[in-house]
Assembly symmetry: none
Homo-oligomer: 261 residues x 2
């Protein structure tokens, strides 16, 4: 473990804390919202609360591991010899990523059988992607990291394709008011997910040592907040919008105009 | 880090503890109230709960950092060499201040488009203000602190102007019963917000060393409680008042008089 500066140390501490706050707040928000949507969307929105709560816990673990890895004396940060362990991120993703995909499927009103099949397939692919990424994280060999990255990119690409292309069709089947929200959720998914393979490659792109350590931690924290809290707000908004009485979501009504008759 | 007296040490510990209790209680209160208001005010009141919960967490962090920074032996407090880090306050504000402004906009019943635009603009200005304040906090140079303070005062002044002048117009558009509450929320906002730039300048006003450290911590804790819990109670009261059946908010009824007929 490299020695780092106090500014770098505090930057990571503050970023983790910010993520803890965001995820905790998101968990309360989604839990609250799960009571306000139609019963059929309740499970989907509750899953968003679970994912955020688990992520909040995960960032506590990362924060404690980070603090254990360094000691501070007279403003100087030195490595304690206890390695900082962020491989737990994979356990978190193994739990949360399939649930996020299932939440998406649940609020899209797919026919029951199609929803279940799609949820299971996407969930399994996500689990496979994460399991395949893990060996590349813990290896110290550059070539092995490349290989695992490439292998994990297979399920990643299938999921991205499924979400992007298939969801384009689903968007048209949504009610008017939900269409733009579903479309945004689709882009938020693509954007936030594309962070992960990029961050994974940082050490291979010549970013090594302290710079790689700090930028990886910050990068994953940002990606996790977008992929869980921001994405969750969009999915949640889809469920809320589809839970309004039909008249309330008509565009004229939303803008405050009075409909004739 | 200066050595401080046991009384000063305990004063800060007790103040942080008091803030933790207040923010935690406020979070539960607002969450509970969010179930009692009309659906259209629910998100606004829920945001107050999130803000208080995040602030509660933040004060736990500050308390632990404070305790790490000092050790007590035979009644004598000495600095451990681990710097007390309250820069996390900025991460907290970055999250909570925009949400507080959005909560205000949501309970004021502005037309949808106006509400969204105003919420986004005020939220962005608040974020900008906080980001600009941060470099001045971490610098040790007095002149740089002045410059960042002055720069951050630009968005601060715009927000204050918006809230003060624009809200004066909005007050008149509120139902009779909510008018006084909205007016009070307006003053609570101005009062509590004006604390922050004042506390920021303490080190420049000749308050240095231990005195600056202690008074800054106490000052921010008081300002945070007013800006979040007290302000939140007022905003929440506006939402509750506007959720009563129309007859209950008619002035005669509130005064207990019996309307003729």
């Amino acid at each position: 473990m490299n020695d780092i500066s106090l500014v770098q140390y505090n930057l990571v501490v503050n970023m983790f804390s910010f993520t803890i706050g965001t995820m905790g707040a998101a968990a309360i928000f989604f839990y609250s919202k799960s009571r306000d949507v139609l019963p059929k969307y309740r499970t989907g929105v509750t899953l968003l609360a679970l994912v955020s709560a688990v992520a909040c816990y995960n960032y506590f673990r990362l924060l404690f591991s980070w603090k254990d890895a360094f000691s501070i004396m007279n403003g100087v940060v030195t490595a304690t010899g206890i390695p900082y362990d962020d491989s737990y991120r994979y356990a978190d993703w193994l739990f949360t990523v399939p649930l996020l995909l299932i939440a998406l499927v649940l609020v899209l009103d797919l026919p029951a059988r199609q929803a279940r099949n799609r949820g299971i397939i996407l969930g399994l692919l996500a689990a496979e992607m994460i399991v395949l990424g893990y060996p590349g994280l813990i290896t110290t060999r550059t070539d092995a990291r490349w290989v695992w990255w490439a292998v994990a990119m297979v399920p990643f690409t299938i999921i991205m394709y499924q979400l992007y292309v298939t969801m384009a069709k689903i968007v048209d089947a949504q009610p008017e008011a939900a269409r733009r929200l579903v479309s945004r959720a689709r882009f938020a998914t693509l954007l936030s997910w594309s962070f992960y393979p990029a961050i994974y490659l940082l050490p291979l792109a010549g970013v090594v040592g302290t710079a790689a350590l700090i930028s990886t931690q910050i990068g994953y924290a940002v990606a996790d907040m977008v992929a869980k809290a921001v994405y969750g707000v969009l999915i949640c908004a889809v469920a809320v919008s589809k839970s309004q009485p039909a008249v309330a979501v008509a565009p004229e009504t939303r803008l405050g105009a009075v409909a004739p008759g």
